[in-house]
């Protein structure tokens, strides 16, 4: 068994048995469900809004070369500098070089999952730069030395007592069990860091081709500060974030907030179009944008799963996923957790090692229903399973499929086989059948009927 799969199975089993933690996650998500439903009810037709959101992404992704070209032209005209990175290593090298060329010392970051994807913090720290995550959840995870648990709610699994202890240990503050006070501790600590930092690194939620602006969505104001105070602003974004029109945001921004966090809009939705302009009193002197491929073109090349690139990273599919709620975000071992993570990680890191995530699904379809841009998530999990079997079938797959094929074509053999199967079914329960162990451990086999369906039909017994 591959490492990633073995670790996943172990962690998932432990976490699923931790009733306390599961109850804690369910409680934390309780408020989200209420608010999401309240906000969704304000939409005069949520399904039509989903149509518009999915079409906005579809039309950009399926014309990516042209739309991206237009975006880059406008972005550069606004005074920003574009850098291209085929993979994670190139993206890290570009950002390191900007930091070195400008003799930067302190770097402040706002939440950016793409930077987790390329392991940017490690690279910057190894090169001797101080990097601080400014989003409260990311800040807590950075102090804990742990990856985000959920790509929108990074530390939703951590109890307040643990956060208080963490702050006491690292910041020397007095213990408290008030979320408000804990937030204020982080606020006071981080404020000076924005003022002192030379470089601010942010992500981007949308790149607008029509105007050359980038759009950043957040609640805390840390991205606003990160892009306002340091003298250099670097944004890192996947190439699939581009949309055609500024007006597309009139649908995408509210839906992102409602689907992902149960808000009408997130607190700050900001459009940046370059460094400080003539006549403006503040803002960075340089504005860099690193555009990353890192296997996105591989997803693009699969027309069946291309819509996975429509993802606006709202997190709704995680919030409704029974698997996510039971095994937790860390067990996935991926940058992107939950259903969308299970769909795209095999493309990013290899199907053979990451296909097991697509197996960890009840295929209930809650994710597909929740997705504001109509990504066919649970079918993609099936596609991954099929593709993995095609790519490297196991011995069981081969024997079973060939055997089934052989039997199903021969009615007499099928009937005889059925008779033997019905007679021996009670025994099967007790036998250690290879590949069935995990399945049988938690399930009982049903009782066999006396007659096959075909016999029942013949005797009009149905």
């Amino acid at each position: 068994m591959d490492d990633s799969k073995a670790i996943f199975l172990k962690d998932a089993t432990v976490n699923a048995a931790d009733g306390d933690q599961r109850a804690f996650i369910r409680k934390a998500l309780g408020g989200y469900y209420t608010n999401r439903d309240l906000q969704k009810a304000r939409y005069r037709d949520w399904e039509r809004a989903r149509d518009a959101a999915s079409m906005a992404k579809w039309s950009a992704v399926n014309d990516l070369a042209n739309v991206l070209e237009k975006f880059v032209g406008n972005f550069e005209r606004n005074g920003g500098v574009v850098h291209w990175a085929r993979d994670a290593a190139e993206a890290r090298a570009i950002i390191l070089k900007i930091a070195e060329d400008n003799q930067a010392k302190a770097i402040v970051k706002s939440k950016c999952m793409t930077s987790e994807e390329i392991h940017l913090n490690d690279a910057l720290e190894k090169a001797g730069f101080g990097v601080v995550e400014s989003d409260l959840g990311e800040f807590i995870q950075q102090l804990r030395g742990e990856a985000p648990y959920h790509f929108v709610f990074p530390c939703m699994h951590v109890k307040r007592e643990a956060i208080s202890e963490l702050f006491t240990k690292h910041l020397g503050t007095a213990p408290t069990d008030s979320p408000e006070e804990l937030t204020m501790i982080a606020r006071r600590h981080l404020r000076q860091l924005y003022v002192d930092a030379d470089i601010g690194i942010t992500g981007a939620n949308f790149l607008i081709a029509e105007t050359g602006q980038i759009s950043i969505t957040e609640n805390e104001g840390n991205a606003r500060l990160t892009a306002a105070l340091p003298r250099i602003h670097i944004a890192l974004s996947g190439i699939e974030k581009v949309v055609n029109h500024l007006d597309d945001l009139s649908v995408l921004l509210p839906m992102l907030a409602t689907a992902g966090a149960g808000q009408p809009m997130t607190c700050y939705n900001t459009l940046y179009s370059g460094p400080r302009k003539k006549g403006e009193c503040d803002g960075p002197e340089q504005f860099h944008l690193v555009l990353l491929d890192n296997a996105r073109t591989r997803i693009l090349a699969d027309p069946e799963q291309r819509d996975a690139l429509h993802c606006i990273r709202c997190g709704a599919c995680l919030n409704v996923c029974p698997i996510f709620k039971n095994i937790g975000g860390l067990a996935y071992g991926t940058t992107y957790q939950g259903p969308i993570g299970s769909v795209i990680t095999p493309h990013l890191r290899g199907l053979k090692q990451w296909n097991h995530l697509s197996g960890a699904s009840s295929l209930c379809g809650a994710c597909t229903d929740a997705c504001p841009v109509r990504i066919d998530l649970h079918h993609h999990l099936l596609h991954n399973r099929r593709n993995a079997t095609k790519e490297s079938p196991t011995l069981f797959d081969q024997v079973f499929h060939h055997g089934f094929n052989f039997v199903i074509k021969r009615p007499w053999l099928f009937a005889t086989g059925g008779r033997i199967f019905r007679a021996t079914l009670p025994l099967l329960q007790k036998l250690p059948i290879p590949y069935m162990g995990a399945w049988m451990k938690t399930r009982d086999l049903p009782k066999a009927p006396a007659q096959s369906f075909r016999d029942q039909w013949k005797n009009q017994n149905v």
Binding site: A28, R42, R44, D45, W46, E47, D51, A52, S54, M55, A56, S59, N62, A65, E69, W84, E90, S134, L136, I140, F153, P154, C155, M156, E180, R187, R191, Y194, V195, N219, E220, N222, R224, L225, A228, H245, L246, D247, L249, V251, L253, P254, P264, M265, C267, Y268, N269, L271, S273, K277, G279, E280, D282, G283, D293, T297, L300, A301, P303, H310
Partner: protein, 226 residues
């Protein structure tokens, strides 16, 4: 070695040779590209000015932002001065705008026109930032500020309280209208920052419990004239 840009474009063009099906839509096909088309399926922003104002008031209240409606400029100045006294502000930074100068002049505390220089430390030490805005979106309770009309990027985010003074005529029904207005006003000379502010800064990162004032302002006041 070919450069990364042309490599990535080559990969994209190659990938797109095979077409992907359109998403399964539930309704009639939607035209997603014309600006300011009415979108009768999004949350309502009000069909008349009065309806929009009513929706705005409701949204702001839910967001825990404070709406203060005043009949004229003099009343706006008085309202902000009263706030300053009640909250014991010592220093207020403001954007030098015709709508704001009289308000700043009436303040009972130190008022600093922050447009000329970029002094981060000094701005951080201010109790409140006073700005105007581009427009106000009734549908969502969002206030659009810009680096052009609101005194730069930091003034509306760094001080602990943000006060916006605007005219009632700046209220637009929905987000699409606000974006279209910004485009019409600035053309291809967009301010380097345009930011929709929807309530005071907030976080739910600790146990998903809402706390106001994460990194940005803890309090947000909208003083609407007329």
């Amino acid at each position: 070695m070919s450069d990364a840009r042309s490599d990535i474009f080559a990969r994209i063009r190659e990938a797109l040779k095979v077409k992907a099906p359109k998403p399964h839509l539930k309704g009639e096909p939607v035209a997603g590209k014309t600006s300011a088309v009415a979108k009768p399926w999004l949350p309502d922003g009000g069909e008349s000015a009065d309806a929009s104002l009513a929706i705005l008031a409701e949204q702001l209240a839910k967001l825990k932002a404070v709406l203060i409606r005043v009949p004229d400029q003099a009343a706006a100045a008085k309202a902000v001065a009263e706030l300053a006294t009640a909250k014991n502000w010592q220093k207020v930074a403001y954007h030098g705008h015709p709508l704001l100068r009289p308000v700043a002049a009436a303040l009972p505390c130190e008022a600093w026109e922050a447009d000329a220089s970029f002094e981060k430390q000094k701005l951080e030490g201010c109790d409140a930032g006073l700005t105007t805005c581009e427009s106000i979106v009734a549908q969502l309770g969002a206030i659009l500020v810009s680096s052009a009309s609101s005194g730069g990027r930091a003034l509306s985010i760094l001080p602990h309280v943000h006060v916006v003074v605007a005219e009632a005529g700046q209220v637009v029904p929905d987000l699409g209208s606000a974006l279209a207005l910004a485009k019409a006003r600035h053309g291809d000379q967009m301010p380097s920052m345009l930011s929709f502010i929807t309530g005071p800064s907030r976080t739910g990162d600790i146990e998903r419990i809402l706390v106001l004032g994460a990194h940005g302002p803890k309090e947000l006041y909208l003083v609407l004239v007329g």
